[in-house]
Symmetry: C2
Subunit: 421 residues, 2 copies
C-alpha cells in the first residue's frame, strides 16, 4: 500500500495542503531552475538574515563601532537560548553559540574525560562523522585514554543494543551523532543516554544533522553535553559558528582545556590567574563571531516560527514520498535504499546506493538538482522541510530516473563531493 | 625641541601633507561627530568589505548555495597569503585564516610542546594579553609543563634581556606579544627570536596589536609560529577569524591537538583514521567562517594598497604628535605617559596614566571621542594610521584636556571597559 501517488499533480496537491508552504518565500530564490536537496549541507539564505546582516554590518559595526559590543556581548547566550527554546528542548543558560563543532567537541570531550577520573574510555561508532571520530581519537590519545569504536550498520545507524554492549565501568564518555551524516539514521536519544548514565558515563550528542529537522529534547532526555552546527537546517550561512550545550548542574564541575579570556571571570581586571566564570560562558574560548551568531539567531527564530513539530512532520512526509518514488522508479535501475525505511528512525535526508552514484550526482548538478555524493556509493538527498516542496522531490527523483535510464552520467569522469558534512 | 606645533591649524597642515589621507574615505563614516581612537580594539568598516559581504551573502550563499564551496575552500589560504604578502613578511602557504586567536594559540602552543619532548617549560611575560597567559597556563598545566612568567615593566614591555634571563635548556617555547596590548611597547622580534632559538626553543609571536600597524617580517626574523586577530587594524569586523603562521619547514613536524576533519588528507574518503594533510591546512580545525575570511582578505588588501611602510610611518607620527600634545597639555593635569617614548619602540597606540582614567574615558565617549580604559589606571588611545587624522588627534587630546580641567568626569560613577583586547 503506497501512501503517495506517483503523478506530479499529486505532489502539487500535497504542496497545496502544506501548512509550511508559505515559508518557502522567506528565502532567497534567485534561480528558479535549481532544485535544492542539499539544505543538510548548507541551508538556504533566509531573507531576514540578509537584512539583519546588512544592518549589523552598516549600522552596528560601521556606525556603532566599539560601542556595539555593549549588546554584542550578549548575543552568544541570547542566540543559544533561542536555539534551546525553539529547537533543542533546553532551558536558558545552557546553550552557547561559539567556535566550530570541531572545537566545541574538543572542548567538551576533554572536559568530560577530566570529570571522570579513573575512567579512560570514550565510546563512539564507526559511522560517526569524521570530525567526531578524529577529534575523539586525538583527545583519547592525548590523555592516555582509549577510543572504543562500535561497528555499526552504516545504513541503519547505531542502536541502543550496540551502545549497551560497548559501555562498561571504564567508560567516561559516550559520544554519538543524533542523526547519521550518511544514512540519516536517527539514534534513540533517551534510551542511549540512559544506558550511558547507567554505566556511569557522560553522554555527548552531536546534533549537526538533527537540529532544525528533528525535535530534540536535551533537558527531557537528560543529555549531559551536545554540540552542533548551524549552517545546515538552521540556515545560518557558510562557516557560521556552532553551538554547545552543557547541562546546568554540570557546568561548574567541568573544566575546559582552551582557557580563553572570554571565559574569564571579571575579564577587564586582566588579572594574573585564570578563573573561569560560572555558568555556560565558561565554555567560551576567544572572541565570538558576531555576524555568524546573529545569523544563527535569525535562523533559529524562523524555524521556531514554523514550529519544530510541523517541520518534523513535513520532513517525514517529504522523505517518505522520496522513498516511495525511489522504490517505484529507481529500484528497477539499480538503486537501493541506504537509510532506515521507518520514518521515525530517520532524520530529513535519505541515501540511495548505486554503483554510479558519484557520476549521477554530477549529472544532477548540471541539470540543476543539487544533492551530494557520499563515499562509498551513496547519493544523498536532503529535502529541508522549511524550503523544499513535494513537487521538487518529484522533479528531482524524475531527473535521477532520466539520468540513470539514459546513462547521461557517462559523460562525467570521476567522483567528487562538496566540502560540508 | 618639539617636532610638532600645538595649534590646530598645524594638525590640518599635517593632514594636507599625509599621503594616506585619501584612504579615510574608503571607510564608512556615518557619524561625523565621532573621533575614533579605538581601531586597535575594533577597526572601522571598509566600504569595499561591506560590498564584498553583501555580494557574498546574496550571490554566493543565496544564489550559489553549496556550489560556492568550490571556491570558498580556497579562501582561508588565499586570505592568509594576502596577509603574509601585505603585512606579515610571510611567503605563501604559511598563513591560514581560521578560528580565534585563542584557539590558534592553543593549537600551536600544544603542537610546539609536543615537538620539544624533554623540555617542559613555556616562557611568557606577565604583561602579555590575558588570553595568552591563560591559554598557555592551561596548556602547560595539562601537559605536565611549567609556565615561566617574566616580570615586566608594564609601561616599557618585555626586553631581549628579560627573555635571555628566562630561557634555558628546559625551554620548549617562548610566547610573547609583538606589541603589548596596554602600553603599545614593541618587542624586538629578531633579537628575541634569536635568543629563543639559541636556547633550542621555538618562538611563537602574538601579532594582535601589531598586524597592520607595524611591519612584521616573520620569514626574515626566523619566527617559528605566530597568531593574531583581524578585527583591530586589519578592519575585518567583530569576531572575524584570526590567523596563524607556521614556518614551512616546521609544518609537517608539528601535530596539533584539535584533529578536525578540515585538516584531514583526502577529506571525502571519510576514512577511519586521522591523517593530517601536509602543509598549512593541517592547522585547520572545523569549517572555516567564510564571511569573516572574506572580510580579512578585503582588509589585508586595503592595507597592502596603502603600504605597511607608509602606515608605520604615519602611525609613528600620529602617536608622536599625541605624546607631544599630552606632554604640553595633560602632564600638568596629572597624566603620565605609560608607553615607550621612542617611536621605534612602540606600536600605534599609547597609554596615558591618570587616577581618574576610567571616568575620563566615559566622559570622552559621551563627547564622541571613543577610546579605552585599561586596568589599572590607563587611558588607551589608538589612532589607526589608515583611518585617523592629525586633526582628530588634536581634537581628542583637546577634549581630554577640557574634561580633566573642568572635572567633567565627576558626573560618572565607576570604571568600565569595552570587551575587545
Amino acid at each position: 500500500v503506497t501512501t503517495f501517488s506517483l503523478e506530479r499533480q499529486d505532489a502539487r496537491l500535497l504542496d497545496a495542503a502544506d501548512p509550511l508552504a508559505g515559508f518557502r518565500d522567506r528565502f532567497a530564490r534567485d534561480d528558479p531552475g535549481i532544485i535544492y536537496l542539499d539544505g543538510n549541507s548548507l541551508g538556504m539564505l533566509p531573507l531576514a538574515t540578509a537584512e539583519r546582516l546588512t544592518r549589523l554590518i552598516r549600522d552596528e559595526w560601521g556606525g556603532g563601532l566599539i560601542r556595539s559590543w555593549d549588546h554584542w556581548i550578549d548575543l552568544p547566550v541570547q542566540a543559544g537560548d533561542e536555539l534551546g527554546r525553539s529547537l533543542l528542548g533546553a532551558a536558558e543558560g545552557q546553550v552557547l553559540v561559539t567556535d566550530s563543532t570541531t572545537v566545541n567537541l574538543y572542548k567538551l570531550s576533554r572536559a568530560a574525560l577530566g570529570a571522570r577520573p579513573g575512567r579512560r574510555v570514550i565510546v563512539t561508532d564507526d559511522d560517526n562523522f569524521p570530525t567526531d571520530r578524529y577529534v575523539l581519537a586525538g583527545v583519547a590519545g592525548g590523555q592516555d585514554a582509549e577510543l572504543r569504536v562500535i561497528r555499526t550498520d552504516m545504513d541503519q545507524g547505531v542502536t541502543a543494543a550496540d551502545v549497551r554492549a560497548a559501555v562498561a565501568g571504564d567508560t567516561a564518555l559516550v559520544s554519538l551523532s543524533h542523526v547519521a551524516y550518511r544514512s540519516g539514521a536517527l539514534a534513540d536519544m533517551p534510551e542511549i543516554t540512559r544506558i550511558a548514565h547507567d554505566a556511569g558515563a557522560l553522554m555527548l550528542w552531536d546534533l549537526c544533522h538533527s537540529v532544525g529537522s528533528v525535535p530534540v529534547d536535551l533537558d527531557g532526555d537528560g543529555a549531559d553535553l551536545a554540540v552542533g552546527c548551524t549552517y545546515k537546517y538552521v540556515n545560518a550561512g557558510p562557516g557560521a559558528p556552532a553551538f554547545l550545550y552543557v547541562r546546568r548542574d554540570l557546568q561548574d564541575q567541568l573544566r575546559q582545556p582552551v582557557q580563553g579570556w572570554f571565559s574569564q571571570q571579571d575579564m577587564f581586571a586582566m588579572g594574573p590567574a585564570y578563573q573561569p566564570v560560572p555558568g555556560i560562558r565558561r565554555f567560551f574560548a576567544g572572541t565570538p563571531d558576531v555576524l555568524g551568531i546573529a545569523a544563527v539567531e535569525e535562523g533559529a527564530r524562523l524555524l521556531g516560527e514554523a514550529g519544530i513539530g510541523r517541520l518534523r512532520d513535513k520532513g517525514m512526509r517529504l522523505t517518505g514520498y522520496l522513498i516511495e518514488l525511489a522504490d517505484a522508479w529507481l529500484a528497477p535501475l539499480g538503486f537501493a535504499l541506504a537509510s532506515p525505511r521507518d520514518p521515525g528512525r530517520r532524520g530529513s535526508h535519505v541515501c540511495l546506493r548505486h554503483s554510479e552514484a558519484a557520476r549521477i550526482c554530477q549529472a544532477l548538478a548540471r541539470a540543476g538538482v543539487l544533492a551530494d555524493f557520499r563515499a562509498p556509493d551513496r547519493l544523498r538527498l536532503g529535502p529541508a522541510p522549511i524550503t523544499t516542496s513535494f513537487a521538487e522531490v518529484w522533479d528531482a527523483l524524475d531527473m535521477v530516473r532520466q539520468i540513470t535510464e539514459n546513462q547521461v552520467y557517462q559523460e562525467f569522469p570521476a567522483a567528487a563531493g562538496a566540502p560540508a558534512g
